[in-house]
Amino acid sequence: MSEIFSIKLVTPSKIFLEANASLVTVPATEGDIGFLANHVSYISSVRPGFISINLENGGEQKIYITEGFAQFNANNLLIIAVELIEKEDLDSNFINQKITDLKNILATNNSNIKIQNKIDSLKSLSL
């Protein structure tokens, strides 16, 4: 049995999830990061994608995140996000809508590499 640590996912409207996990993979801006217990203190921004959580009881949960931040400190992983959605509740229309929105921003905000990256990571999502 691997060691566990506590995770907390918060959005502006509520605490989305508070649990204990053994492994959490977060789609960080510069590549996915897997957090295990006793990870070094870490702060990273998050790109659009799925957070996958291996829960203490062996279950696995996948949650969509639009953008946000992850902070790991003293065996507490905190994920702050504007929007979190369970993978099961997601459909492709939603993703397409996000892509269109970002493209509109991109059109007015000439060639922002960050927004382009976000579009790319949204496109690569498979449901």
Binding site: K8, V10, T11, P12, S13, K14, I15, A28, T29, E30, I33, V40, S41, Y42, I43, S44, S45, E67, F69, Q71, N73, A74, L78, I80, V82
Partner: protein
């Protein structure tokens, strides 16, 4: 002697007013509960956001002088004041007390030769300040179509303000809102949001707890660039929620007072009505008796 019918009508009209104020009080109480819940649910987000901000910005020293939301741009000329008020009236001193706080600040800033710009969120505040400061109100935000405040509403406002900041339209931004303390007490609050106010922790920085060394990805500067607008939106969101809870609280106590006044008024009017009616009866009796005696 007032006409009995007129008195009756007055009592009826006060009664119907009381019905309205009572109903408004009930509605405000229900909305208050909702608003308080929303404010409570957003608290973990804003608290955690603040912690994150603190841990990043503590060691961060801006190396260039470009405009950023954390440290400002060393200039201190133009102030943007954002006033949060309600869309509807009948809520006691809610709108006037916060507008008064804003007015005092404007006077103080103008005395120091600062340029002042105002954004009004909510119609009532605009109505109050437009007579005096109509020429420096740069924008108004209408929230009348919104039933319960969502994060996106706050984001729209903050996006607008951030754009203004990077267009060099102001140097410092202060927000004015009523902080919800209890149903009978709302505190007019002035808060600086640009540059961001980071709690001074220099003394505590020596303790081990605060010296946690974080690894950053991509790097501090880029994270801050993304985090600051979010943090700013959270401040606005918080102000909106506090303000809406305060509005309902203030309305509730105002309507409670009004209902109580109305029932006092009904009592005294009814007493007066009964007395007048009795006087009329007595008068008629006296007339009959004295008429009979005369025969």
């Amino acid at each position: 002697m007032p006409n009995l019918n007129d008195l009756k009508k007055r009592i009826a009209s006060v009664k119907s007013t009381q019905k309205i104020t009572k109903a408004m009080k009930m509605v405000a109480a229900a909305k208050l509960r909702k608003a308080q819940e929303a404010a409570e649910q957003s608290r973990p987000y804003s608290d955690n956001m603040k912690n994150l901000m603190d841990s990043i910005s503590r060691g961060f020293i801006s190396t260039d002088n470009s405009r950023n939301l954390l440290t400002g741009n060393d200039e201190d000329k133009t102030y943007l004041l954002v006033l949060f008020t309600s869309e509807r009236g009948l809520c006691g001193g809610f709108n006037s007390q916060i507008s008064k706080a804003l007015r005092e600040k404007v006077v103080e800033l103008q005395k120091r030769d600062k340029l002042v710009k105002i954004i009004c969120v909510g119609k009532k505040g605009y109505d109050i300040v437009k007579r005096q400061y109509g020429n420096i109100i740069v924008d108004t935000v209408d929230l009348s179509a919104i039933k319960s405040i969502q994060y996106n509403d706050a984001k729209n406002i903050s996006d607008k303000i951030i754009k203004m900041y990077f267009d060099a339209e102001f140097d410092k931004c202060l927000i004015f809102y009523n902080k919800f303390k209890s149903v009978i007490s709302q505190i007019p609050t002035e808060q600086q949001v640009v540059p961001a106010e980071i709690a001074e922790q220099k003394n505590e920085a020596d303790s081990i707890e605060d010296n946690i060394f974080f690894e950053f990805e991509p790097n501090e500067k880029e994270i801050l660039e993304e985090l600051l607008p979010l943090n700013f939106a959270v401040q606005i969101f918080k102000a909106l929620l506090e303000s809406s809870a305060s509005e309902q609280g203030s309305r509730m106590s105002a309507m409670d007072n009004a209902s109580r006044n109305a029932s006092d008024m009904i009592d005294s009017l009814t007493l007066f009505y009964n007395r007048s009616r009795q006087a009329v009866i007595t008068k008629e009796l006296i007339e009959i008796i004295s008429g009979a005696e005369a025969v």
